[in-house]
C-alpha cells in the first residue's frame, strides 16, 4: 500500500499499458483523481455544478463492479421470468445502472430513497443482497419482503429504502412526506423521490412539488428520463420533455444519467441545495435496454438501431471500463475477470434462492391489519375508558 501516499499531479493522463506492471494506483487506493463528466449540466433557476468530479481508484472499480453486478442480475431475472420462475410483473433496470450507483456515491444510508416499480437495482445499491433480490422475485421466504411483494415491492428499512411502489407517480408525494419528517427531526438528511418520465405527467407530482416548495422540504425529485413512458415516447406524452424545468418555481438540474460521475455530482449538489433551500428536481437522461415490463418486447415503438446505438455510445458500464483502462487501474482481462466473478455470484444467489421455501400459507393473512390500541371500558356505568398500549 505504499502507493497510497504517492500523489502525482499528472494522474489524469492515461497511462500506457506498458506501465501496468508498475501501476501507480492500486485499485483499493483512495488517492483522489478527477474526472470530467461527459456532458455539461444544465440548470433551471440554478447555477449548475462543475463538470470536474473527484473520485478515487477504489470508487471507479466499485462503480464498475456494482454496475456489472446489477446488469448481470437483471439479465438473469429476464431468463428466470421467461422460465416462469418469476411471476407477476417485472420491470428491469439494465441501462439505467449509473443512476443508482452514482446516487449512492453521493449520499448516505440515512438519506431516504423511494422509487416506483423499477426497483431491483435501487435495492441492491442500498445494500440489499442478491439472495434477497432473487428470493423476492421468485416469491420465496428469504426475499426482502418475505416473498410477499415480488418484483415491484422491494424494501430495506435499515438503509432508508422506502421501496418499490406499483402505481405510476404515487410514490412522489410519499417522498415529500419522508422529507418533511426529516426536516422536522432536523437530522440533516434528504429524500430522493424517484419517478420516470411517464410519471412526470401525473398530477400528484405537481401537488407534492408545491407542498415541498411551500415548506422548503429537503426533497429531491429525481426524474429518471428513459424517454419512454411504457410504450409511448416522451415527445408523444409530454409537451415539454425538459423535465428539470417543469417544477417552474422549483430549481432543476439535468445530468447525463448514463454517466455515474455526472449522477454523483448532481446528487451531491442537490443534497446540499435541498438541505439549504428546499426541493430540487434532478433529471437523469438515461435509457432502458429492456422493454417497459416483461410483457413488452421493447422493440415495437423504437428501433433496434436506437437501442444498439445507445449501447455502443452511451453505455454506463462501458464508460467506466474506459476510465479504468485509461487510468490504468486494471487490465482488460482483470475487468473481464470481475465480470466472470459477478456472473458466478449471481448464479450462486439464484441457486440459493431456488432452495428458499415458499412463504408459509399463513402469510396470506398476516400484515393486513395489526391489532390497534385496545380500549377498555370499565366502571359502574362503563363510562371510564382506558386505552391499552400494545
Amino acid at each position: 500500500m505504499a502507493q497510497l501516499t504517492r500523489r502525482t499531479t499528472d494522474l489524469l493522463k492515461p497511462f500506457s499499458a506498458a506501465l501496468s506492471s508498475t501501476r501507480l494506483l492500486t485499485t483499493t487506493s483512495t488517492t483522489p483523481i478527477t474526472v470530467e463528466t461527459s456532458l455539461p449540466f444544465t440548470g433551471h433557476k440554478i447555477d449548475p455544478p462543475s463538470r470536474s468530479v473527484e473520485t478515487t481508484p477504489q470508487e471507479l472499480m466499485n462503480f464498475f463492479r456494482d454496475m456489472a453486478l446489477m446488469r448481470r442480475m437483471e439479465i438473469a431475472a429476464d431468463s428466470l421470468y421467461k422460465a416462469k420462475l418469476i411471476r407477476g410483473f417485472c420491470h428491469l433496470y439494465d441501462g439505467q445502472e449509473a443512476v443508482s450507483v452514482g446516487m449512492e456515491a453521493a449520499i448516505t444510508k440515512k438519506d431516504c430513497i423511494i422509487t416506483a416499480y423499477r426497483d431491483h437495482c435501487i435495492f441492491l445499491g442500498r445494500g440489499g443482497t442478491l439472495l434477497e433480490c432473487f428470493a423476492e422475485l421468485m416469491g420465496r421466504k428469504d426475499g426482502c419482503s418475505k416473498g410477499k411483494g415480488g418484483s415491484m415491492h422491494f424494501y430495506k428499512k435499515d438503509s432508508g429504502f422506502y421501496g418499490g411502489h406499483g402505481i405510476v407517480g404515487a410514490q412522489i408525494p410519499l417522498g415529500c412526506g419522508l422529507a418533511f419528517a426529516q426536516k422536522y427531526s432536523k437530522d440533516e438528511n434528504v429524500t430522493f423521490a424517484m419517478y420516470g418520465d411517464g410519471a412526470a405527467n401525473q398530477g400528484q407530482l405537481f401537488e407534492a412539488l408545491n407542498m415541498a416548495a411551500l415548506w422548503d422540504l429537503p426533497a429531491i425529485l429525481v426524474c429518471e428520463n428513459n424517454h419512454y413512458g411504457m410504450g409511448t415516447a416522451e415527445w408523444r406524452a409530454a409537451k415539454s420533455p425538459a423535465y428539470y424545468k417543469r417544477g417552474d418555481y422549483v430549481p432543476g438540474l439535468k445530468a447525463n444519467g448514463m454517466d455515474a460521475f455526472a449522477v454523483k455530482q448532481a446528487c451531491k449538489f442537490a443534497k446540499e441545495h435541498a438541505l439549504k433551500n428546499g426541493p430540487i428536481i434532478l433529471e437523469m437522461d438515461t435509457y432502458r435496454y429492456h422493454g417497459h415490463s416483461m410483457s413488452d418486447p421493447g422493440s415495437t415503438y423504437r428501433t433496434r438501431d436506437e437501442i444498439s446505438g445507445v449501447r455502443q455510445e452511451r453505455d454506463p458500464i462501458e464508460r467506466i471500463r474506459k476510465l479504468v483502462l485509461s487510468h490504468d487501474l486494471a487490465t482488460e482481462k482483470e475487468l473481464k475477470d470481475i465480470e466472470k466473478e459477478v456472473r458466478k455470484e449471481v448464479d450462486e444467489a439464484i441457486a440459493q434462492a431456488k432452495e428458499s421455501p415458499m412463504p408459509d400459507p399463513s402469510e396470506l393473512f398476516t400484515n393486513v391489519h395489526v391489532k390497534g390500541f385496545g380500549v377498555e371500558a370499565f366502571g359502574a356505568d362503563r363510562k371510564e375508558l382506558r386505552a391499552v398500549l400494545p
Binding site: G88, F89, M230, M358, P359, F365, T366
Partner: protein, 347 residues
C-alpha cells in the same frame, strides 16, 4: 373489433388511453388508429385522472368518449373524476349537462400471476355510485354486444373487461352490429336446486362447479348478472323463488363486495322462500396476493363445497345435535375458521 363496429357508424366517437394508439397492452385497439385516424384513436400521457376528466369534457360536448384505463388497478387516481364529476353531472346541472357518451374501459381481475397491482376487481367501489353504470361481460360475443350498448347508453358506463379471458376465450363473434341490453341478467344454465349469480371471468369457474355438482345430483341455475348497477333484481328474485337457495361469487374481497348487496336484497325479497343462508364465495379479505393467488381466489372447489353445504343445509340442520351443527359449520367455513385462528396468532 367491437370498436371497429362502432367506429364504422359514428363519427363522433373517440378512443384514447395509455398506449392505445399502438393497440394497447392487451391488443384491444389494434388497427383502430389506422382505420379511423390518429385524431380519433390516440395515446394519452400516463395520467388517469386527466384521462377521465378529459373524457368527461369530451362527452359533455355530445361526443362518444371511450377512455381506456390500462388496468382497473390504476383507476383509483381517476376515482374522483368518475364519482364526483361523471356520475353527478346530469343530476347537479338539473339535466342541462351530462356525460352520457362516456365509457371507461378497464381490464380487471386475476390473470394467474398478476400480483398486487394487476389483478384487482374494483367493481364494488363503483356500484356505490348512483349515476354511473357498471358492466362486465363474460365472453367475446357478450363483450361486443354489451360494449356497443354501453357506448350508446345515455349514461356514463364503467366497463370492466376480464383480462384473464383476453387470451383464453375464443368464440364466434358476429360481424354485424348488435347490442345486448344493459341491466338485464341472463340465465346461462337452468337448474332447480340452487341459483348461482356471478359476472365476468368468474362465471366459467362457477360453471365448472355446476357441472361437478350435477354429478352429485344437484341441479344448479347459473345467472350472469352482466350489469352490476342498476342490476336485474327481478330475474335473480324469480330464480331464487324457484330454487330457494342463492350463492354469489366474485373475485373481489368478500367484505363489502357486490355479493353483499345481492345477498341483502334477495334476503329482503325472498326471506320466506330461502331454505339456507345466502352463500358468498369470494376473494379473501387480504390484498390480492402474488404467490398465494390460488388460495385467494374463489376456486371451483370452494364453490362446489358451498353449493353442497347450501343445498344440504336444511336437512343437516334438522337432524343435528349441537355437535353435528358445529362440524357442519366448521366444514362449510373452514377457511373462515382458519382465518380467525391465524388472525389470533398474528396478533
Amino acid at each position: 373489433m367491437i370498436l371497429v363496429a362502432y367506429g364504422r357508424q359514428v363519427d363522433c366517437a373517440y378512443v384514447f388511453g395509455e398506449d392505445v394508439g399502438f393497440g394497447g397492452v392487451f391488443r384491444c385497439t389494434t388497427g383502430l388508429s389506422d382505420r379511423f385516424g390518429k385524431q380519433r384513436v390516440f395515446n394519452t400521457p400516463l395520467c388517469e385522472q386527466g384521462i377521465v376528466g378529459f373524457a368527461i369534457g369530451l362527452a359533455a360536448m355530445g361526443n362518444r368518449a371511450i377512455a381506456e384505463i390500462q388496468f382497473a388497478d390504476y383507476i383509483f387516481p381517476a376515482f374522483d373524476q368518475i364519482v364526483n364529476e361523471a356520475a353527478k353531472f346530469r343530476y347537479r346541472s338539473g339535466n342541462q349537462f351530462n356525460c352520457g357518451g362516456l365509457t371507461i374501459r378497464a381490464p380487471y381481475g386475476a390473470v394467474g400471476h398478476g400480483g398486487h397491482y394487476h389483478s384487482q376487481s374494483p367493481e364494488a367501489f363503483f356500484c356505490h355510485v348512483p349515476g354511473i353504470k357498471v358492466v362486465i361481460p363474460r365472453s367475446p360475443q357478450q363483450a361486443k354486444g354489451l360494449l356497443l350498448s354501453s357506448i350508446r347508453d345515455p349514461n356514463p358506463v364503467v366497463f370492466f373487461e376480464p383480462k384473464w379471458l383476453y387470451r383464453l376465450a375464443v368464440e364466434e363473434v358476429p360481424e354485424n352490429d348488435y347490442m345486448l341490453p344493459l341491466s338485464e341478467a341472463e340465465v346461462i344454465r337452468e337448474g332447480s336446486d340452487i341459483t348461482l349469480v356471478g359476472w365476468g371471468a368468474q362465471l366459467s369457474v362457477m360453471e365448472q362447479a355446476c357441472v361437478e355438482a350435477e354429478k352429485d345430483g344437484i341441479s344448479c341455475e347459473l345467472i350472469d348478472l352482466k350489469t352490476l348497477i342498476p342490476w336485474d333484481k327481478e330475474k335473480i328474485e324469480s330464480s331464487v323463488n324457484k330454487t330457494g337457495r342463492l350463492l354469489v361469487s366474485h373475485e373481489a374481497p368478500i367484505t363489502g363486495g357486490f355479493g353483499a348487496e345481492i345477498s341483502a336484497s334477495i334476503t329482503e325479497r325472498c326471506f320466506l322462500r330461502l331454505e339456507a343462508p345466502v352463500a358468498r364465495v369470494c376473494g379473501l379479505d387480504t390484498p390480492f396476493p402474488l404467490v398465494f393467488e390460488p388460495f385467494y381466489l374463489p376456486t371451483k372447489n370452494k364453490i362446489l363445497d358451498a353449493i353442497k353445504s347450501t343445498v344440504n343445509y336444511y336437512s343437516s340442520y334438522d337432524k343435528s345435535s349441537p355437535v353435528h351443527q358445529h362440524t357442519l359449520l366448521e366444514k362449510n367455513h373452514l377457511w373462515i375458521y382458519a382465518f380467525n385462528a391465524l388472525d389470533r396468532r398474528v396478533a
